[in-house]
Every structure is written in C-alpha cells, then in structure tokens.
Symmetry: C2
Subunit: 216 residues, 2 copies
C-alpha cells in the first residue's frame, strides 16, 4: 500500500487525472462538498492525503507519504530532502520579477540597489538578486504580492506568472524570469531506494502515462 500527498489548489485536478490514468481514483477530492483529507482508492491499493502545496514535501520528507506531487517552485524555495523523480508536464508557470508598467526599468539589473522586493519566494528571490550582485530588501508576504507595487510598499515583486492576467489587471509588467516551473513527482528517499511497496512499479506506470516520457 502506498500513500500519495496531493496538493490543494491549481495542480489538484491534473494530479487526479494523471493518477486515474494509472488506475488510482481519488476524484472524490474534487467534489466541492468533500471535507475528508485522507481517502483510499476503490481497490484499497493506495491512499491519498490532501494537503497544502507547501506541505506536500513535508509529508514526503517525513515518510508519511511515499510519493507526492508538487510544483517545482516549491522544491526550489524549500529545498526539501526528497527524491525528485519526474516532470509531470502540467502546471506550467514561471517565477518572474515584475514592476509597475509605468516604470522605466527594462531588466531586473536596472532596479536601484536596496530597493524593496515583495515576494512569497524569499529564498529564490534572495538567491537571484545575490547572483545579480544587486542588494535588495526582500519583503516577505503570504498573498496578493501585487499589492506591493500598487501601494508603493515595494518597487518590484518576484511572483509566479501563469497566464499573466493578474499582472495585466494590476498594471504590472514582467522584467525577467528566474525559472520555469511544472508539477513534479517526488518520493521519500529511503522508500525509493529500498523500493518499498513496489514503489518503482508505480513510478514506471506514472511515467508511461505522461504525454512524452521525460526524466527530469
């Protein structure tokens, strides 16, 4: 029996579709009346945990789930001790630097030293601006990062961009991309190494179900 940690939010429906294609049905999680955080597939061969996307690596790291599906952005930000197995090729987005459309900046390098940058991705933003050798003052936020430049609290933001609609609606423009992100399959390192509960067979099935099999 394996346990899989699934992320609430934008990656959930594609995660459930993928697992359904390998014979594991957790679609009860998509029912809006569902309050369960733990469900079994019909054959009782696997269990799924529904957790916040940021918590997926925690459950996998502690071995409470042998597998997990989570965005690459979170793996980059939290650097959890998990085995990073497959690029699942959905949930495409990018972590980008953005500023007010009315500003004159053409690239992140033009930002003034010691300016404020609001973000949920404190580690990634720090690493990026360190590499540019540009000292900035990171303002850690939990949500609605676009309010940073609107209120004048920050000159720039570092945030995930998918369609770009939120940026446009808030008169912001993208300057530079830190990296692209997609959903990834991760595993508890020890379970993976010891191939507990036939983990490798499940991973192979998931890989075979991908549009074009890519090992990241």
């Amino acid at each position: 029996m394996i346990t899989i940690a699934l992320p609430k939010g934008g990656l959930l429906s594609d995660s459930i579709r993928l697992l359904k294609s390998v014979g594991l049905d957790f679609s009860a999680f998509l029912d809006s009346s569902n309050r369960q955080l733990e469900i079994w597939d019909a054959n009782h061969t696997a269990k799924a945990l529904l957790v916040r996307n940021y918590d997926v690596p925690v459950y996998v790291e502690y071995g409470q789930a042998q597998l997990g599906i989570v965005g690459y952005d979170i793996l980059r930000e939290k650097r959890p001790q998990v085995a990073h197995l497959l690029d699942l090729q959905f949930g495409h987005c990018r972590l980008s630097v953005a500023v007010r459309a009315a500003s004159s900046y053409q690239s992140a390098l033009e930002l003034p030293a010691h300016c404020r940058v609001a973000t949920k991705f404190v580690q990634c933003a720090n690493e990026y601006f360190n590499r540019l050798d540009l000292p900035v003052d990171i303002v850690p936020l939990y949500g609605s990062v676009e309010l940073g430049p609107i209120t004048g609290m920050s000159e720039a933001i570092v945030d995930l961009v998918a369609t770009g609609r939120t940026l446009t609606e808030n008169n912001l423009v993208e300057l530079d991309k830190l990296f692209d992100s997609t959903a990834r399959l991760i595993a508890h390192p020890l379970s993976y190494r010891l191939n507990r509960d036939h983990l490798q067979a499940w991973i192979n099935r998931i890989e075979a179900a991908l549009p074009t099999a890519i090992v990241s």
Copy 2:
C-alpha cells in the same frame, strides 16, 4: 487620509462592522464578486487594503497602512515592530496543544521528549516547549495541521481552537492552552507617535465603539 489594513478570512466581517460604526464603510470587501484589494470609503476619508492576515503587520510595519486589524496570535508569532493599541473583543480563540483522543496524555508535560509537534505557529510552539523544558521536534505546516496526528507524522499539534469542532471531527483533544487570542488594533509606530492624519482621533472613535472599552 488614513489607510487601514484588513485581514481576509474570519476576522473580516467583524472588522468591517466595527469600522462602519465609526463612519468608515468598507463593506464592498464582503461582496463575494469583489476582486479589488484596495477600496475607499464613500467620503474618501480613508482607504482599506484587503490582505492575508499574516501580511497585515507587514503593511503596518512598512507604513503603507497607518492602522491594521489582526489576530493576537499573529502578533505573538511574528513579533512585528508595530504599536499594539486595542483589544477589539472579537475573533476569540486560543492557541492550544492537542493530541489524539485515544492517547493517554493528560498534559503537554507528559509528551515524550523529542516527539514531533506539527504547527503553523513555530515560534510560539518553540517558546512554549522551551519554557516547559521539554525538547520537541517542531514540524512546520501551512495548513490542515490536524493531519499530523491522523497520519502518525506527529504526536501532537499546536493550533488555534475556536469552537473545538475541527478537533472533535478529527478525534483530537485539547491538552493545554498556550494563550487566548482576539482581534487587535495595531498602528505604524511613527505615524502613531506623530499623530499623523489625526490618527489618535480615529483610534479614540474605534475605542469608544467597543462594547466595553479596554486598553490592552
């Protein structure tokens, strides 16, 4: 003109009711179709920002909002550099230690040393167990902390309890209380000291509108 940072979620409707009683109407934020994060009251005497509860102290600390409404739990966890003015007497809850109802523990002191404690309140939990002189392994989670003991990842949790319904539904029982929490009025220290934009007059009006005026 003053700016007030309001928290999304459970404290929002009471916050809006309180401000309405002093003549500031931000009830547009309660409209489920609202997508605006920044609105003016009808007389353009004040502006409100709608932000995540965790972000309220950030906007106030950086002076983007002169006033903010936020739970005491967040003030205890984040220790922001803000002036802590009034207990607004709504949003009652408590931060508590809870364990599985089936366990034999009667108090937090009986927990085994080095056991795992899942929580969103890492600083508060660390401080509490340090004071008990009980070394524990804090597992930081972002949501659904009750899954910790259910999945066996942690022995205990430290989480907010209001009605106790979530605990009961998940077969958990409260052991000890860390502290009680309510909504608080906070201010940007410099704006408060200099009484910018007649801040003190607004604070007096809010205090007078409370059921029984208590300066915390």
